[in-house]
């Protein structure tokens, strides 16, 4: 029974990582950049939803939608102002800029909303489901989180596989030059990718804070890094990879804590990542590209 409850916690935590990782992976796939500020967009999303639902008493759905709108605008703005001018710059310059954006968001959030933690009201309630005579308890949030992850993953797969815009994204991530020759506006496509990734970040923020309801300006930082690890773990650039990477990371983290040591859980997570990369240098589902000679 402990095993099952660990598994469910792992899946629930992993689902949150997966949704964040999807944002990382989509942006990496098309812009080939590590968007370190992604975790902080999550935090902004959670704050917007928090204010909408508790201060302005809007219904939860409206709160989530508002968070998505704000994050989308924020994501596109960040891309336009900070990343677009660096499209041809070295990846290192882009990373530093992304870190600068991350610092900016965290500190601006602190100025705006203070560093006092706020308790997030779950948008889906806190009810529990009891199974096996109460020996196994599952929270509705966990179920919703896992479901949301699967739905988002399915929706993204449909979007990239079936829609014109989605296909254009794939085309851009494969070959920007050729995509331009097809008449695809690469800059616009990248903006759309950032918009989607940021909207996902808003959802991730809401779900993260519903399951773990403390909200601070630094809330997004660590889940961001973990999710980034998850994206690399699954093969950065691959949508199913991000999903699998996120889920596995969540499960490994929980099982590592539960069966090995709570003190070493972080080390275990990162060690598994390293070993995986040594065996599969491009992550679980990543495609390895070799330089043409």
């Amino acid at each position: 029974m402990t095993f099952l409850s660990f598994l469910i916690s792992g899946l629930s935590l992993g689902s949150v990582y997966a949704i964040i990782a999807l944002g990382y992976t989509m942006v990496y796939g098309i812009a080939k950049m590590l968007n370190f500020a992604h975790g902080d967009v999550i935090m902004v999303g959670a704050y917007v939803c928090f204010f909408a639902t508790t201060r302005w008493d809007l219904p939860p759905t409206v709160g989530v939608l508002l968070a998505m709108v704000v994050c989308t605008v924020l994501g596109v703005l960040i891309e336009r102002l900070a990343y677009k001018p660096l499209r041809s710059a070295s990846s290192l310059a882009v990373i530093i800029t992304a870190i600068g954006v991350s610092y900016f968001l965290q500190n601006a959030a602190q100025l705006l909303w203070t560093s006092n933690p706020k308790v997030f009201t779950s948008v889906v309630g806190n009810s529990l489901i009891k199974l096996f005579d109460g020996r196994l308890t599952i929270s509705v949030i966990a179920i919703i989180t896992i479901t949301a992850c699967i739905v988002i993953m399915a929706a993204l797969t449909w979007f990239t596989g079936k829609t014109k815009m989605g296909k254009a994204m794939r085309a851009c991530s494969e070959d920007k030059g050729a995509a331009q020759l097809m008449g695809i506006d690469v800059n616009f496509t990248i903006s759309v990718t950032f918009a989607i990734g940021s909207a996902l970040a808003a959802i991730a923020g809401v779900l993260l804070c519903s399951a773990y309801p403390t909200l601070m300006p630094t809330t997004g930082a660590m889940p961001g890094i973990k999710a980034f690890t998850a994206a690399v773990f699954g093969g950065i650039g691959s949508i199913p990879g991000a999903m699998i990477g996120g889920l596995l990371l969540g499960i490994i983290e929980i099982f590592g804590k539960g069966y090995i040591s709570t003190q070493l859980s972080d080390a275990i997570v990162f060690a598994v990542l390293i070993i995986t990369l040594l065996v599969k240098p491009a992550g679980l589902l990543g495609k390895q590209t070799t330089e043409k000679v």
């Binding site: 660096l86 310059a93 600068g100 954006v101 003190q263 972080d266 080390a267 390293i274 992550g283």
Partner: protein, 358 residues
């Protein structure tokens, strides 16, 4: 002969620059014209300068991105301090003890770098970056579970338990107390020592770059496939650069740790690694003198911005973004160089260009 001359002249300038800075600060100090605030920062500045130079060896010279450099600093800090405390009775002479401790710190960080480098350096680009990040976090996590004590019987090391299970005999001392790190360190680091360490670091790094091994390292950065085609062993030279860089970071770690009465593992996390990476990138990849200046200025800058209080970090972030945009955006770059052409007399401009290699 021409090129030798060029390289060595640039080196002399770098050394001279550091020495001059040292002398001036010493003069200011002795005449009492230096604020406590700046004086308190002298040793950390030295440590960060060494860190920046050493990371520049990995990022700028070898061309591999490392996001976990603070991990090596941590290894050096903890082993160095443990060494220094354990050797207290054996080597009473503090400068010698510090030197030995720094060497021990550097050595163990170098060993850590080698152990990590062997499997990891096969990876490339962003994957290598994430693995170094992961190693940095692992080092942090492990140090948080490490207990070390010393008594007459020697060092006691314990993992995952607590300080009491070290079973120290009477008069023994707990040195590393898990997450509480080391406290009660006697401050031994001085600015002079920091200066000496910078000079040694410069000597090692500049001479390494300008030698057969250094050329091979830079060849790997410029074109790995071509380097292999002329018979350069990739792993060997990558490892050489990485381990040297780790060892220097370890030395910086010891110097840094011995300047504070307490040191904890969490200090050497992702944020510190990033801080140092920012020094290197803003100072210019492969530009040693740039690293020195960037590390110094960017360590002092946040202190100078103190009067802006809560806005300080927001300003810092914006400045960082603007600098990256200014130095990398083609339009802006063109605009700036136009501006410079108009504003500065030409002889000055040429001088500036020439100094970029250091």
């Amino acid at each position: 002969m021409k090129i030798m001359g060029k390289a060595s002249r640039s080196k002399v300038i770098t050394y001279g620059f550091v020495i001059a800075a040292f002398v001036i600060v010493q003069l200011l100090k002795s005449s009492g014209n230096i604020s406590s605030s700046l004086q308190g920062q002298l040793v950390p500045i030295c440590a960060y300068v060494v860190m920046a130079i050493s990371l520049n060896l990995t990022v700028g010279v070898l061309g591999e991105l490392s996001l976990g450099h603070a991990g090596f600093m941590s290894v050096g800090a903890f082993t160095g301090v443990v060494a220094c405390i354990s050797l207290e009775s054996i080597i009473p002479f503090t400068i010698l003890r510090m030197t030995v401790s720094i060497i021990i710190g550097a050595f163990s960080a170098g060993v850590a770098g080698t152990l990590i480098g062997i499997p990891v350096l096969r990876l490339e680009g962003d994957y290598l970056a994430i693995v170094t990040l992961a190693f940095g976090e692992i080092i942090k996590n492990i140090t948080n579970c490490l207990y070390v004590g010393v008594d007459k019987a020697g060092l006691h090391v314990n993992f995952l338990t607590d300080a009491t299970s070290l079973n120290l005999s009477e008069g023994g001392r707990v040195i590393i107390d898990g997450p509480m790190g080391i406290s009660g360190i006697t401050k031994l680091s001085t600015f002079t020592m920091g200066f000496a360490l910078i000079m040694v670091t410069l000597f090692i790094v500049l001479n390494l770059i300008d030698s057969r091994s250094g050329r091979a390292i830079m060849a790997l950065r410029d074109n790995r496939i071509a380097a292999e085609s002329v018979g350069i062993h990739v792993t060997k030279y990558k490892l050489m650069a990485f381990a040297t860089s780790a060892a220097l970071a370890g030395a910086a770690g010891t110097l840094y740790a011995m300047n504070y009465s307490t040191i904890i593992a969490s200090k050497f996390g992702f944020n510190t690694s990033i801080l140092i990476l920012v020094f290197v990138v803003l100072g210019g990849l492969g530009n040693i003198r740039g690293s020195i200046i960037a590390a110094t200025v960017l360590t002092i800058l946040p202190e100078m911005l103190r009067q802006f209080n809560n806005y300080r970090m927001v300003i810092y972030a914006i400045v960082l973004i603007l600098i990256m945009l200014a130095t990398n955006d083609d339009n802006l770059k063109g605009f700036l160089s136009n501006l410079r052409n108009r504003l500065l007399p030409s002889n000055l401009r040429k001088g500036k260009k020439g100094a970029e290699n250091g």
